[in-house]
């Protein structure tokens, strides 16, 4: 009986805090994406006009984000029947976008206007086995170009 009560409390806490944090985070992501939209990102290795470019410095954005009890519970149920793990999709979406924003912020500090050769790395820090919650790290990096001299 107590075990069920603990699970219900954890689910409520997970859902309450988790969805509040997610909502806040998305609001912040939308605002900063609009703010940083002038820094362009490309996955091509080279600028189309390399002769006119200056700068050229590694920039990176890194984020570690954790699942909550509710997301993990729903994902656990979903894994019994298969299908989209929607509760983790928003987690990864937030992680990737936050990492890109941090990289762009670094590029803006340098005075860059574009980032080339952008690559993503995602790894799970904790897989969430045995009653622990999963957390992921997203690393994004690229070469910042623009009107600045590389250090």
């Amino acid at each position: 009986m107590w075990e069920i009560a603990i699970v219900v409390v954890l689910l409520c806490l997970g859902y309450g805090f988790g969805s509040y944090r997610e909502k806040k985070h998305y609001q912040s992501i939308y605002a900063r994406e609009a703010e940083l939209k002038n820094i362009l990102v490309f996955d091509t290795a080279r600028s189309p006009a390399p002769e006119s470019e200056t700068g050229g410095q590694l920039v990176l954005g890194n984020v570690v984000i954790s699942s909550d009890y509710f997301k993990t519970f729903v994902a656990g149920l979903r894994m019994l029947v298969g299908g989209r793990l929607t509760s983790y999709e928003s987690l990864l979406d937030r992680g990737r976008r936050e990492a890109v924003l941090r990289m762009k912020a670094e590029a803006r500090e340098l005075g860059a206007d574009s980032i080339f050769n952008v690559k993503f790395e995602t790894s799970s820090i904790s897989k969430g086995g045995n009653d622990t919650l999963g957390s992921i790290e997203v690393l994004v990096y690229g070469t910042a170009l623009g009107n600045f001299q590389a250090a």
Binding site: Y15, S19, E33, K37, L40, V41, F42, S47, P48, A49, S52, E53, F70, K71, F73, V74, L77, R78, L80, V81, R84, T86, S87, E89, S90, L92, D93, S114, L145
Partner: protein, 300 residues
């Protein structure tokens, strides 16, 4: 790059993640999987019960052959070490008196054990073993009442209720282990340590009713009336009525509730079969019997 106009247009929201309310998915999954598990459980439970009954009694005994049942009762703190052979012989004699009237299948034997604990209870378990507590016997004045309980416990064994309960329990534990993906430690423990589950087997209300009916039939044949069972249930419903208001209910009523209903069922049965519910009761000649007016001490 400067002479070409590039831009990163905003990507539409809701493609890489779902905009559906998370609680909707949660409710759907919980309900769907819950119903599925309940159905599977129901089907498995039915087959486990139906099949367990067909396990030959010798197999049940063989399963327990390596186990010292007295030791297990002591380990579970149900009984204590000591020589209770006089008490057990007396109880066994009552069992033997009833057995011819109970129509046990061939090869089935029962073994009565005694515990000097004050717990007001008795139970039947695997391998034809029964445990009677001093507390229960002290609460009785007549042999007829004891025979009514004895008949009830023998009926559980005759109807294979302990092995059915074990079969159902194992099935559910196996299912739970396969869902949770554990290496079956709980199911394994239950399988290997099934002997440790001896006192935890729970019988359904239908099984209790069936055991009551068998017991009454045997009483009517052996004693000529079912006064013992009648008196027993009368007392039990009185105590149960008193106990309902108390937080700690006596052990007996936790495993055997609804004494009032059972008493009424018994009286209907008596009416239907023309059994007398009153008759001369035989005084209980239990060794070192200390009759008490229903002991106030409760055991958990």
């Amino acid at each position: 790059m400067r002479n070409v106009k590039y831009e990163n247009p905003p990507i539409e929201e809701g493609i890489n993640y779902s905009q559906e309310h998370p609680l909707k998915e949660f409710a759907q999954l919980l309900l769907g999987i819950g119903i599925l598990i309940a159905l599977v459980l129901l089907v498995l439970n039915f087959f486990a019960g139906a099949l367990a009954k067909r396990i030959p009694f010798e197999y049940e005994q063989a399963m327990l052959s390596s186990v010292d049942i007295k030791q297990i009762f002591e380990d579970e703190e149900l009984s204590e070490a000591g020589d209770y052979s006089t008490q057990e012989n007396y109880l066994q004699a009552i069992a033997d008196k009833l057995i011819p009237a109970m129509g046990l299948p061939e090869g089935m034997a029962v073994q009565v054990h005694y515990s000097a604990s004050d717990t007001v209870n008795a139970f039947a378990t695997l391998g034809g073993n029964m445990l009677f507590f001093k507390g229960l016997i002290d609460a009785m004045d007549s042999e007829d009442e004891l025979a009514a309980v004895m008949g009830h416990e023998i009926a559980h064994i005759k109807l294979r209720h302990p092995i059915v309960a074990l079969g159902k329990g194992l099935t559910i534990a196996t299912l739970a282990a396969s869902i949770s993906g554990s290496s079956g430690s709980s199911a394994g423990n239950l399988l290997l340590g099934s002997s440790a589950q001896l006192s935890m087997l729970k019988f359904s209300r239908e099984q209790e009713a069936a055991a009551d009916a068998e017991s009454a039939l045997a009483l009517a044949q052996v004693y000529g009336h079912i006064g013992g069972a009648d008196l027993l249930f009368q007392h039990f419903s009185e105590i149960e009525g008193e106990q309902k208001t108390k937080p700690a209910v006596m052990e007996m009523f936790r495993s055997h509730p609804y004494s009032e209903d059972r008493w009424q069922n018994l009286q209907q049965l008596a009416l239907h079969n023309g059994w007398s519910t009153s008759g001369s009761l035989q005084k209980l000649a239990f060794p070192e019997h200390q009759p008490t007016k229903y002991p106030p001490k409760e055991h958990d």
